[in-house]
Amino acid sequence: MFAQASAKTAEYAGKIVHVNEEGFLLDPTEWSPDIAVEIAKEEGIAELTPLHWQVIDFCRKHAVNGRSPTLRQITSGTGISTKEMFSLFPKGPAKKVARIAGLGKPEGCV
């Protein structure tokens, strides 16, 4: 899974995980809900509500090659609107939820 043996690590919820330069987890299997809570705090989201978790679960379930779905895939897959997504995960929802969900950045333009 890790291409670089020298990959950076970070500690969340008492666990060491491998991350890339931008702080995205390199191995989705190292992720846990406790880790999500801590990364969310780093991203400025103080508390993960059930709606946040619905999005996180959706992304974990629909990740392709460890990469999170795009925002449009999330909105059409969960029924959560674009507006709600921007208020749940302000400033770049798909990217933000990808990081919190322990996945790679989404690929694709929409």
Binding site: K83, K95, C109, V110
Partner: protein, 168 residues
């Protein structure tokens, strides 16, 4: 983290189907990266946000040197053009437009109207150029969303202080 958020301002001056998408795609990508987005529609670019035109943007094969027969489905014909004399035939613009729209749809890319809604929902601000609006005899009601403001070029210059400006 920087004190002020990164801002991008797009100026859409063209109203053809192929010139509508760049700002929509890049604007959406910018929102996805937490960047503030403004889009200013001027001259023919106003067609992109006009209720009457948004679903009817077209692509003309005449004088389009990049549109080759390969777009028409002829495999490998990347360097065989559509003669301008053929492009002027009735229905050719509609035909080329339909082909392009089918390709856009097949890729799962949203329509122009849907993209505009996504941008607005994501917090982008859309503006119409006052001079063009006056010249074309339009009003605020002619645009696809109530939130679209009519502003002068001078307003635009004020609003875009510190923004990266992209002219299309």
């Amino acid at each position: 983290m920087a004190d002020e958020n990164r801002k991008m301002a797009f100026i859409c001056s063209k109203g053809t189907l192929d010139m509508a998408y760049p700002a929509l795609v890049m604007g959406w990508a910018a929102l996805g990266n937490g960047v503030d987005v403004m889009i200013f529609f001027t001259f023919w670019g106003l067609d992109i946000i006009r209720k009457a035109r948004v679903e009817h943007l077209e692509l003309a094969p005449v004088a389009n040197t990049s549109m080759k027969m390969s777009l028409m489905g002829l495999k490998g014909a990347d360097n065989i053009g559509i003669p301008n004399a053929v492009g002027v035939l009735p229905g050719m613009t509609a035909f080329a437009t339909k082909l392009m729209k089918d390709k856009i749809h097949a890729l799962g890319v949203p329509s122009v109207r849907e993209y505009l809604q996504m941008l607005l929902d994501g917090g982008a601000k859309l503006y119409a150029c006052k001079m063009t609006v006056d010249m074309m005899g339009l009003t605020k009601e002619d645009f696809v969303d109530d939130s679209i403001e009519i502003v002068t070029a001078s307003d635009f210059i004020d609003m875009t202080e510190g923004a990266q400006i992209i002219f299309i």
